[in-house]
């Protein structure tokens, strides 16, 4: 993560970049809230 967009756009970085699917239904993790069950890879586990 960076605020320097030109860094993110370097070819060496871009070529291994993949989109991250946002999860608007997930609450932001704070010192008062996190949810490990929500991020658990159930699908991978059940394969």
């Amino acid at each position: 993560m960076t605020r320097d967009r030109s860094f993110i756009l370097k070819p060496s970085i871009v070529e291994v970049t993949e989109p991250v699917a946002p999860r608007p239904d997930w609450r932001l993790w704070t010192d008062s809230y996190n949810n490990l069950f929500q991020v658990f890879k159930f699908e991978a586990e059940l394969q």
Binding site: M1, T2, R5, V16, V39, K41
Partner: protein, 346 residues
């Protein structure tokens, strides 16, 4: 349960573990409590009986909380407990019909075998073990390629999670390996700064692998909570001692340490504390991120290592990044280079 403890191929089947051990715990507790209830004395001796039961609880706590961490090199308490319970069941039911005794003999033999197998596997290729409050560290050396000294390497394993590897030969030992290879996310970021002096913060020391990218005018600052990791990084690996960069190691909780420090002006901060099965969630909150940002140069890069068998942390980071109005976060795939020869990478 014994099968699940002994079979390495099942060690990451978390849901199966939860299912099997929950059922198993039920039966073990039923047996132990049932035997206890059946053997309770008459009312005259009940006070002493309950006192002894309480003392047993205290003894169990002392065994697991104090004696086991001091005397056992790894987490073998569960295997030992299963073997003891099986032997106890056999001893208490010795006069039962032959099929019952036969079944209990088989269970005892199986749990003992599982314990033996676990100990054997645990010590396999292992040259150093350290157990403390933070877990079990093992340094392993591969013995598969003993014929070619160039291909021998050493691994640092914390619990069941790989925390770094290094080639032992002079030819390759300064090579970046595993998650830190030149084609990995952190490798590409650090190489993008090549040619100018940089200050790098690293949360999670491991074997010190990231130091392989250090140049003489660079400054690498590692944060790690476990003093044994620092000891191992210096004694069994040479990334830290080989690097021409200036290296500082701060022991203690990384977030607390960083909150106490003045701004460090990091060009790169690598947060590498989330590969295990019990992640420090306080290092991946919006407040933690604010702390990290305070230590970054404008335009600095924060790299999170989110390879994890069980957890998908990328959407969590995306939400945090969006909430702090940083640039669009990216997720880079772990690199898989073959030169020098590729060694264990998930």
């Amino acid at each position: 349960m014994a099968w699940f403890l002994a079979d390495k191929s099942l060690q990451f089947r978390l849901l199966w573990h939860i299912f099997v051990f929950t059922i198993g715990l039920f039966f073990v507790c039923m047996f132990c409590h049932g035997e206890l209830a059946m053997r309770r004395p008459g009312p005259k001796h009940l006070t002493l009986f309950y006192l002894v039961v309480s003392a047993g609880g205290v003894l169990g706590g002392v065994l697991v909380g104090i004696i086991a961490p001091i005397t056992l090199p790894g987490y073998l308490e569960l295997e030992i407990a299963l073997t003891v319970v099986a032997a106890l069941a056999l001893a208490l039911n010795w006069t039962r019909p032959i099929p019952v005794v036969g079944l209990l003999v088989a269970v005892t033999a199986f749990t003992s075998g599982a314990l033996f197998w676990r100990v054997k596997y645990f010590r396999e290729d292992t040259v150093y073990i350290e157990r403390n409050y933070y877990g079990v560290l093992r340094v392993k050396e591969n013995t598969m390629r003993m014929d070619d000294s160039d291909l021998r390497y050493r691994s640092l394993v914390h619990g069941a999670i790989l925390h770094g590897e290094q080639w032992l030969s002079e030819k390759y030992r300064r090579s970046a390996t595993t998650y830190y290879k030149m084609t990995s996310g952190i490798g590409r970021v650090l190489l993008a700064f090549e040619g100018k002096p940089i200050k790098v913060g690293v949360i999670g020391l491991g074997a010190g692998s990231i130091a392989v990218y250090g140049d003489a005018d660079d400054n690498y600052k590692f944060y790690d909570i476990d003093p044994a990791v620092e000891e191992v990084a210096y004694k069994w690996f040479t990334y830290i001692t080989d690097t021409p960069a200036k290296v500082d190691i701060v022991l203690g909780d990384a977030r607390l340490s960083m909150e106490r420090e003045p701004p460090q002006n990091f060009d790169v901060l690598a947060v590498d504390a989330f590969s295990g099965d019990a992640i420090p969630t306080h290092l991946i909150t919006v407040e933690a991120f604010d702390t990290y940002l305070r230590h970054m140069k404008p335009g600095g890069v924060i790299v999170f290592h989110v390879s994890n068998r069980f957890l998908d942390l990328k959407p969590v980071l995306l939400a945090i990044a969006e909430s702090t109005a940083s640039s669009t976060p990216t997720c880079t795939r772990a690199g898989r280079t073959a030169a020098p020869p590729a060694i264990g990478s998930r």
